[in-house]
């Protein structure tokens, strides 16, 4: 660039070839600063603010706030409705993760072997691209008691009509299916990119040893895609905890609060009952569960550094 510029010590250092560990000063801070500020304001500060809120209680009449320690959490876990929501959340996440991973691995293996791979890869990713509200709107209509696609299928099969969102079991089942449909495509893509890296030599060696297809999958494919497996799993789990509009627009948390998961409880407490302190306590519960799960996923399935 401009060579006439006075040469700073920093440039001298870099011209000497020592680009790592020598440059000091404001330059790198200017580069990373904007990103750090955005993240602190939008994510880091809110986490601390949320924790603070969860340890306090406000009185809407006097406008005063007092420290209550773990009082909000004791109230939460003392309420049967909350314990049931916690259970429903775990069912939703476990269902989404288990079925989602089976679908992701199965679909990725099909795509990996299919002709016109790129075309199908794009088609199967569409459900993940579109908004959660669009997903929920489409599935609500699919399972609508009047003129839905599910009715077309059940009547074609000669089965009795099912009111899918009317019973707790079927409502949760449909919501898990919606999650799998809309979230797992991204996991499929991740697994698919992992399959592309599996060494063909390993398959050949396994074939020579007379390994069955199942043995090849278990001893060659799975260990080779371990990092992608872990990422796909963590992604599914996070996305499942974030499911909000899929529930709000289909069951609204019903029937009988059977699909009222933590995200919905959090929103209702915060914006319908206007109890920010209790909502913040739900936030902390969500955070802790996700942290514990992330750590265990990485421990269980994380990339093995030694290989």
């Amino acid at each position: 660039m401009k060579t006439a510029k006075p040469v700073s010590t920093r440039q001298v250092a870099s011209q000497a070839g020592a680009s790592w560990g020598v440059r000091r000063g404001l330059t790198p801070l200017l580069f990373v600063g904007p990103a750090v500020i955005f993240v602190i304001v939008i994510m880091v500060y809110p986490v601390f603010r949320g924790v603070w809120l969860s340890l306090h209680e406000s009185n809407p009449f006097t406008g005063t706030t007092r420290f209550v320690g773990l009082g909000q959490f004791i109230d939460l876990f003392g309420a049967p409705a909350f314990r049931s929501s916690l259970r429903q959340s775990l069912i939703l996440v476990a269902g989404t993760v288990v079925i989602g991973m089976l679908v992701a691995i199965g679909f990725a293996m099909v795509l990996d072997r299919a002709p016109l791979g790129r075309l199908w890869r794009t088609v199967i990713l569409v459900p993940w691209l579109i908004s959660g509200v669009a997903v929920a709107t489409i599935w609500r209509a699919l399972f609508s008691p009047t003129g839905g696609f599910a009715d077309t299928v059940t009547s074609a099969l000669g089965l009795e009509r099912i009111v899918w969102f009317g019973k707790p079991g079927t409502a949760m089942f449909v919501i898990i299916m919606i999650n799998v449909w809309s979230i797992s495509p991204f996991s499929t893509l991740i697994i698919y990119t992992g399959l592309k890296t599996v060494s063909l030599d390993l398959y050949e060696a396994a074939s020579i040893d007379g390994a069955s297809p199942l043995a090849k999958f278990w001893h060659v494919t799975l260990p080779s895609i371990r990092p992608q497996f872990a990422i796909a799993l963590v992604f599914l789990s996070f996305a499942a905890f974030n499911s909000f509009e899929t529930i709000l627009l289909t069951t609204g948390g019903g029937p009988a609060r059977s699909t009222e998961v933590l995200a919905v409880v959090l929103f209702r407490k915060g914006f319908e009952q206007l109890d920010f302190n209790s909502a913040a306590a739900v936030m902390v519960v969500l955070l802790v569960i996700n942290l514990v799960l992330s750590v265990s996923y990485v421990k269980l399935f994380g990339a093995d550094e030694s290989t």
């Binding site: 660039m1 060579t3 440039q11 680009s19 790592w20 020598v22 000091r24 790198p28 801070l29 200017l30 580069f31 990373v32 904007p34 990103a35 750090v36 955005f38 304001v41 939008i42 994510m43 500060y45 986490v47 603010r49 949320g50 809120l53 099909v110 072997r113 002709p115 790129r118 199908w120 890869r121 794009t122 569409v126 691209l129 579109i130 908004s131 959660g132 509200v133 669009a134 709107t137 489409i138 209509a141 699919l142 009047t146 009715d151 009547s155 893509l189 991740i190 592309k196 992608q228 974030n242 709000l248 995200a263 959090l266 929103f267 915060g270 936030m283 969500l286 955070l287 996700n290 942290l291």
Partner: protein
């Protein structure tokens, strides 16, 4: 990159492939088909999959209503600004993290990356509380800032992977020619990181274009309303659900993100392979 071992399995692949594509496509095709049905066709038992008398009435109604264009403009403005700022800020930050050693580097890197462990929906109450305190509720600016802040951790992580993959010797050569830090970024890093830029652009645009819970919490007036918010409101505001109209609106709202994805598909998949999966 044809794999020889696949050839003999080609025939047997079509059945599972059909099932995979049917699973992904059926709900979308159904929604598309519903958007062309007449109102009376929804009342038929058993329900029809394809309309007998296709009509574009739903699209005429949606597009003829000024509201749709306002909401589409709002969504587009918010998504474009959020994407541009996210990409700019994350790429420059990735350059700083990948190429410089400085005081607090590890701490700041953790500040950027640890929030990836936070489920976004959980922050809705404190973020609302913050924006209310700042008097910034019900503005497009607020949604932009929130989407930028939430997109940066992943975008920066992916870009660090990309910038780290660019040989350091190129930086050195440019510096010998007298380039400043910013000059190296502009002339060396930026052109070589374009696949990464496209990846994080598509991801950031998708997030901002589709986002709903924060829009619901932080805005309420029609002049700042986004498309997903309006689609959500259809549930309550129409006395009788006009399924055709709603599906038409749904289809129209997903077309822009589909186009963007299809145009950049190759880069996004390559980018995710190279950057995110590390």
């Amino acid at each position: 990159m044809k794999r020889p071992r696949m050839r003999n399995r080609r025939l047997g692949i079509w059945i599972p492939l059909t099932l995979v594509v049917l699973w992904a496509a059926t709900p979308l095709v159904w929604a598309l088909s519903a958007s062309f049905k007449t109102r009376s066709e929804f009342a038929k038992t058993p329900p029809l999959f394809f309309p007998e008398n296709p009509t574009i009435e739903a699209y005429q109604k949606v597009l003829g209503d000024g509201g749709f264009w306002t909401f589409a403009r709002n969504s587009l403005l918010i998504a474009v600004v959020a994407t541009v700022v996210t990409v700019a800020v994350s790429t420059i930050a990735a350059y700083g993290f990948a190429r410089y050693a400085f005081k607090w580097r590890h701490v700041l890197l953790l500040v950027i990356l640890l929030p990836r462990l936070v489920p976004r929906i959980s922050l809705i109450v404190p973020v609302y509380d913050l924006m209310r305190g700042l008097g910034l509720l019900n503005t497009q600016f607020t949604l932009m800032v929130v989407y930028i802040g939430m997109a940066i951790p992943l975008a920066t992580w992916i870009m660090i992977g990309f910038v780290g993959g660019i040989p350091r010797e190129l930086d050195e050569a440019a510096r010998v020619d007298g380039a400043t830090s910013w000059g190296v970024f502009q002339r060396i890093i930026l052109p070589l990181a374009i696949p990464g830029l496209l990846t994080i652009s598509v991801l950031a645009f998708r997030e901002a274009w589709n986002e709903f819970p924060f829009a619901l919490a932080l805005t309420n007036s029609p002049d700042v309303r986004t498309l997903p918010y309006q689609l959500f409101l259809f549930k309550d505001t129409l006395g009788i659900l006009d399924v055709g109209l709603i599906q038409g609106f749904t289809i129209l709202s997903i077309i822009p993100i589909l186009i963007i994805y299809i145009v950049f598909e190759k880069h996004v998949v390559a980018g995710l392979t190279a950057g995110a999966v590390k």
